[in-house]
Structure formats: C-alpha cells, structure tokens
Symmetry: C2
Subunit: 450 residues, 2 copies
C-alpha cells in the first residue's frame, strides 16, 4: 500500500481543488437549490473513476445517484448524500459558505464535513487504489441520496423499489464520521429510530366557562391521565409490552460503552442539570443515552396559556410525543402498543397519530467487516477508536443496513469536534481529509484480504 | 301596602325616566370611563331619598358609595355596583348601549340588568315606601361598588378597612337577579370561590435536542405526573385532605336542588357532549354543578406546539389550574394543601403560585330573612321561586356575607332569560322592573314584621 499512499500524497493539491469544486455547488434540499445539477455531477464523477453510475429519479423526491463497479464474492455497499443543510445565518460565516476557502489548514464550506468531504475522499481513494494497486477486490454498490438533511423521506421507498439492484452486499460503509479531540476515530455502528406521535383529545363543542367543569369533561385532563399512563415517575416507560422488545447490550457492546469517553461533570454543566436521569453515573449514563428507548413530551398545548388568567374549560388538548427507538422496537409496533395500551385503559377518546417514523438499527459488533473497519481506523489514526454501538440520535441506517441485514461500518471520517455540522463555519482539517482518503484505500485492502 | 303599590304605579313614567338617566351614564370600569361622575350621582340620589351617603375612596381602585339610613334592632346590608361591562362590539346593538331606549316593552342599555336597574328599583321602592308607609322599619347599610365587573379586586380591602362601619347587619340583599322563562323568580343564596393556581417546572438551562432524553429530565413529564396526582381518572379530586373540607348539601338544600329546572338533553346538546361528568343524571347533575369543587386545567404549555414536529426536550412547562371552591374550602387552604400534597410526593420542583382567589359562600337556607325573601318573591311573582343554594360561578358574596357571617338574600331581580348580560342588546322588561320595585317594598315590610 506504499504506492497507494505515495499517490495520495502526490495528488493532494488536485484532490483538494476537486473537493473545493464540489463544495462550491450549492445543493440545498430544504430550499430546492442545485439538486439536479449536483446529482448529475456526482454521477459523472463516479463514471470518471469507472463506476457504472446513473441518476435514478424518485417520484416526488430528489434523485438518487447509484453507481456499481467491481466483481467477486464480496460486495460493499456505500452510503453518502450530496445534499447539504441551508447555510443561514450567512452573517455568521467568516468566508462564504460556498466559497470553499482553504484557510489555517482547514477547508471551510457548507457540507464539507457533512457529507461532501467523505464522499469525495472515497472517490479519490478508489481512483488512487486502482492506479497503484489494481482493480477493486470486490464489488461496490454506491448510493448517494439527496434528501438526508430533510430526514431521507424517500430513501425507504427507493430501497423498496430497487431491492434487486441493491441486494447482496456484505456491509454498508456509512456516510462519514469524525475524530474526537484526542485524535481518536469515532465509529458509530447503530442509530436509534423514532416514532413521533401526535396525541389529541376533543371535548365540548367549544371552549366553555370553567364554572361548567363539575359536569362537562375536560380533554386536558383526559390527555394528562393518558400520558401519565405511558411513563411513570421513576422515568420508566410503562406502555404495555414495550420494554419487552428492548434488546440489552451484549458483553462486547458493554465493553465498547465503557470505552466511550464521557465527562459527566462537564456534561451536567453543559445541560445545566444537577444529576442525570435515574441518578445514573459512570458507564450507565452512556448506556442509557445509547441503548435506552425514550418517551419524550416534546410539546403540549391546551386552553389559555398567555399572561394572567382565563377561567376556561378547554375543548381541545394535544401533545407531541417522541419515542426514540432501539432494536427490536419499530414505529408501527410502538404505535400499535400505545393504541392498545390506551384502549385497554379506556382512553379510546385519545386520538393517536404517527407524525414521523424511523426504524432503529444496530450492527453486530462481532461481524468481521466491522472488526476490519475498526482495525483499519486504529492503524490509520494511530489511536484506539471510540466505538459507539449506537448513536443517541436517529438516522436512516435501518433503511439500508436493516433492510438487507448487513452491518453498517465506518471509521475514517473527515470531521473534527468543531466541524460545525449544520452551523455556520462548517469545516474540516486538510490533514483529516487526506487521512480519510488513506483510510478508505486501506479499508478496501483489508476487506479484500478477508 | 296598597298605597305603596298605587304610588309605584302612579310614578311609573318618572321611575323609568330616572332609570334611563342612570343608564345613559357610561361607567365602564375596564376602560376607566365615567367612574367618578357616576359614583357622585349615586351618592346624590341616595341622599335625595334620605340616606347619609358618601363616596369613599379606595386606594388604587374605584370609589365605593356608602349610604346609611334608618334605625332599630335590625339592619339590612344592601350590595350593588354602579360599574358596567364594556359595550363592545357596538355594531351588534340595535340601539345605542347608552341611549337607554324603551322599545317593545323593554329598556335596552348596557348595565340595565347588571346592575343599574336593580339598584334604581330599590331606591325608588324606598322612596315610595317612605312616602306612603312611613319611616324604614330597620337600618339599611348600602354598599355600591364600582369594580364588580373586573372581579371586585378591592372590595375585600374596603370591607377590611371599614369593618366597624359595616358591622352589625342581619343579612345582605344581594345585587340583583332574574326570573326564568316560566316567570319563576330565581334566587341565589351562595357563590363558589376560586383558587386559580399557576404551576410550573424548569429543567435544563435551555431546550435540548430530544436525543438527550435518556439522561436529562423533562419538566413536561414532571408537571404531568404532578397534575395527574391532583385528580384521578374517575374525576375525583385527590389532593390530600381537600375533600374533607367540602360541606355536603343539607336535606333542605337537596330539596331546593331538586326544584331547580334543568333540561338535561338540551344542556348536553348546548355543550356538545354525550353525557355529564361521572355519568350524572337527574338532580345529581345540578348538585355537582352547584356543590362540587373543581380542579380544572385551564391551560398547559410546553415545548413545540406548532404544525408538524420538532424533536425537542423542553426546559419549561407550565399550567393554569382553576379550583372552584365550595364551603369550607378557601384559596389559602387549597394553596397549602396542594403544596403539601406535591411535596409529600417529591414534587418539590413544581412551583405553585396563587394567581387569583375568591372565597366561597353559602347562606344558611333556614335563616328567617332568607325565608322572608323567598316568601315575598313567591307572592310578588305569583310563582314558586327557583332557589339556588349556590351558583356555579364565583362572586364576591363572601367578602360581605362571609366576613360578617350573615346570609345573602335576593329574589326580586329585574332580569329575564334573554337579558344579554355582558353582551350586546342588554335589556330588561318594563314589567319586570316595576315588579322589582314592588318586591323591594314588600321585602322591607316583611323584614320589618319579623
């Protein structure tokens, strides 16, 4: 792999220039800017490195770029996205978000960390690998979508409609990643899912004077009692049967959990709290954060909520409740369990609606491709990787990895702890970018040797 | 009393003209219009009929007119108010709200039913009584306040500051009243009180992404659990000890309750509900409405409540809760009981504030002056009175009657079921007005004979 590394080093200037070119294309899905053009550019660039690539239209959504190359027994799926977050507020940027200025050893641009840098680094790694080492030792199936920043609303349907095309991969190289402040590569092997529910209750035909409260039902009380039955004062989710579906961490996952650096005091100070939920300390805090499902009231509105007072008996009450899901929960299951739970307690008057959904996914940590990706990251970064068996947040990992029952692997991310994802002055270090190219080349080599 | 009645009949035109004159004076406390002038006019008119009357300034509030006349063992307190509700929306009035037009046998004016007509009728009754029958058979202490329509915020303090002046009455003739559609005089002997509480909980130092929910507490949950402990799903108030203070209806009160006409089907249709709370039917509905305390969520706000969704862990939650009070509850007691109840359950993080308060009051139905007022109403209206041992709404009856431990009496109201109190086209029938004058004269006579 020495020749590969030399090639990468020799091409640094060209690689960076190409990264800048990519970052200078606004592709803001939320604002509908530059989507088609960028998709075409991505397709062309993949073709340039040898992929059989195409732009696949998705009804009512942004096109997905799909590319395939290589042959053999093994297949690696790769997932990236070409869309970016809106750049606003513009006045907080030190240089234009689409100027892609290189300054102080960093590239500054919207999307450079999330997710244009990672994609570009992979393309360039494959280019250098082919030139110096030879043909890819396995098949690659590459999906580059354009709606990640708005929650991948059509990715599931795309996968469903192109299942045969996408099938047969052994693992999926996930979109990106980062290193932590100590230079340790951060690897995430799973993502939580979401069942975001809207609950509502109606009462009398209009708001009434509260003197009628002794004889007319109050939808606010009905909703409060219904909600109080979903989670108890000890912070336990009490939806009938829900916790039975929660998979506990394995001993190996516990090991990774214990290896995740987490400064409790700093975190409490950041949040402005005195203690963590359930008075958790040590690895239990991280375990809760990554492995526990949640039932969160994100919003509740009824009656009069302005200054002073109004003696009103409301006729409407509504709440938004966010369930964060871990395996083996899923949104439809949670919706059904909540509905049955409420019906069983007579809360048939509580309307429940699924406002947003995402399936959870956790990769099997003992899978050889997972081990390989961790091992390569350890070598390239020269530091012990921090492995998150799952992230606290949600993401579309299930739609690719879960659908095909394959692990999601990662480890060579271009990000740093201050990459400002989704914020002004998004940036990556040139050094991290070049290392990410090396990571990809070595990962290809390692998987080829499995 | 024939000469009294003849005098009233002979003076009808003059009495009505004087009522019009009074109604043409806007005295809108919410808008600060005409308060001082109207108070002076009221004082002068009381002087004109022989009262030793004065305008008493109340610091930061509208002046109270106080008048005294008569002597003897017995003393009747009278309560009225000279302020009125704002007349808006003006375009819904068929004649000007301060024109006091007489049309189709009715007087149309803001305040004619609430509460200028009742006061004027009493003054004119006393005038005719003195002329035809002689001196008053007892002492009258008359309080005419100017802030009833904004909740009598200073009446309690006025009473406190003038306790010696006001003390010694045997009963208080309450402000007004009405007849029902069948011509039966409606008498109310009590009013509920209010403890309007503001509850709030704070969490992290700012709203957080809801992915942090496994480790950071949610004030919305805390408030929901706290509230759910105050009232159970069977609609029972479960605040420790609160219900122990609730006085049950006496057998005589039950008799009155059973006599109150209440069309269940019509009421359910009006409210747009299928059944009353606790599936009550028959006299139980009226009993609940008039004798049960309430704990009503008037408002609840936390987090994101707009369209769609936001995955937020709120750092603030607040609720407004209206307790309607019956004897022997009172606002300070309820505040203390709620506080202790929450503390006992570990909800020390729930802040509780008393936003508004009013003491409840119920007159003893067996008091001879109460019996006299009911009896006179029966005679004058020629129909069996509908006696409400308490009203469903609140009012300042406690501040006068409760403070001095005397019954509140009534029965000769000028209102009709369509008097449009607080609404456009407020009105009373001329016939009802004249009957109200007769009622007052006969009540004076009846009490004099006790």
């Amino acid at each position: 792999m020495d020749r590969f590394e030399a090639n990468v080093q020799a091409n640094q200037e060209r690689f960076l220039a190409e990264l800048q070119e990519f970052c200078r294309k606004p592709s803001i899905i939320a604002q509908g800017i530059g989507i088609e053009e960028t998709a075409d550019w991505v397709r062309d660039r993949l073709q340039g490195v040898g992929f059989d690539s195409q732009v696949i239209q998705v009804e009512g959504g942004a096109p997905v770029v799909y590319g395939e190359m290589g042959s053999g027994d093994k297949t690696l799926m790769i997932y990236n996205h070409y869309d970016v977050q809106p750049p606003e507020p513009l006045d907080l940027w030190d240089s234009g978000p689409f100027d892609a200025e290189i300054r102080d050893g960093r590239v500054w641009a919207r999307g450079v960390s999330d997710n244009k840098g990672p994609w570009m680094a992979r393309v360039q790694a494959i280019e250098a690998y082919q030139k110096e080492i030879g043909e890819l030792p396995f098949r690659i199936k590459w999906i580059v979508e354009g709606e990640e920043e708005i929650g991948s609303p059509n990715l599931g349907r795309f996968v469903e409609e192109n299942k045969e095309l996408l099938a047969g991969a052994d693992a999926c190289l996930w979109e990106g990643g980062r290193r932590d402040g100590a230079g340790r590569p951060v690897i995430s092997l799973g993502m939580k899912g979401i069942a975001y529910l809207g609950l509502s209750v109606s009462g009398a035909s209009s708001d009434l004077h509260s003197m009628n409260a002794p004889i007319v039902g109050n939808p606010a009380w009905r909703l409060i009692w219904a909600l109080a039955s979903l989670k108890d004062e000890n912070e336990n989710i009490t939806v009938d049967g829900l916790m039975d579906h929660v998979v506990k961490p394995t001993e190996e996952e516990w090991e990774y959990l214990r290896g995740i650096p987490f400064d409790e005091e700093e975190s409490k100070q950041d949040f402005g709290i005195n203690s963590f939920l359930k008075d958790a300390t040590g690895p239990d805090v991280v375990k809760q954060l990554l492995f526990d499902p949640t039932c969160t009231i994100c919003g509740f509105l009824t009656g009069y909520t302005g200054p002073g007072l109004k003696t009103v008996l409301p006729n409407q009450a509504s709440a938004k409740v966010d369930f964060r899901l871990v395996p083996d929960l899923n949104p439809e299951l949670v919706l059904r369990l909540v509905r049955e739970h409420l019906d069983r307690r007579g809360f048939t008057d509580v309307n429940v609606e699924l406002l947003a959904q995402l399936w959870p996914y956790r990769s099997p940590v003992e899978h050889p491709w997972v081990k390989a990706s961790i091992s390569v990251a350890r070598d390239i970064f020269g530091a012990e990787p921090v492995v998150y068996p799952s992230s606290a947040g949600g993401g579309p990992m299930y739609q690719l990895c879960g659908t095909f029952g394959i692990p999601g692997i990662s480890g060579g991310g271009v990000g740093n702890p201050n990459s400002n994802l989704h914020a002004p002055n998004e940036n990556i270090y040139v050094e991290d970018y070049m290392r990410s190219i090396l990571y990809t080349g070595h990962l290809i080599n390692a998987i080829g040797s499995l």
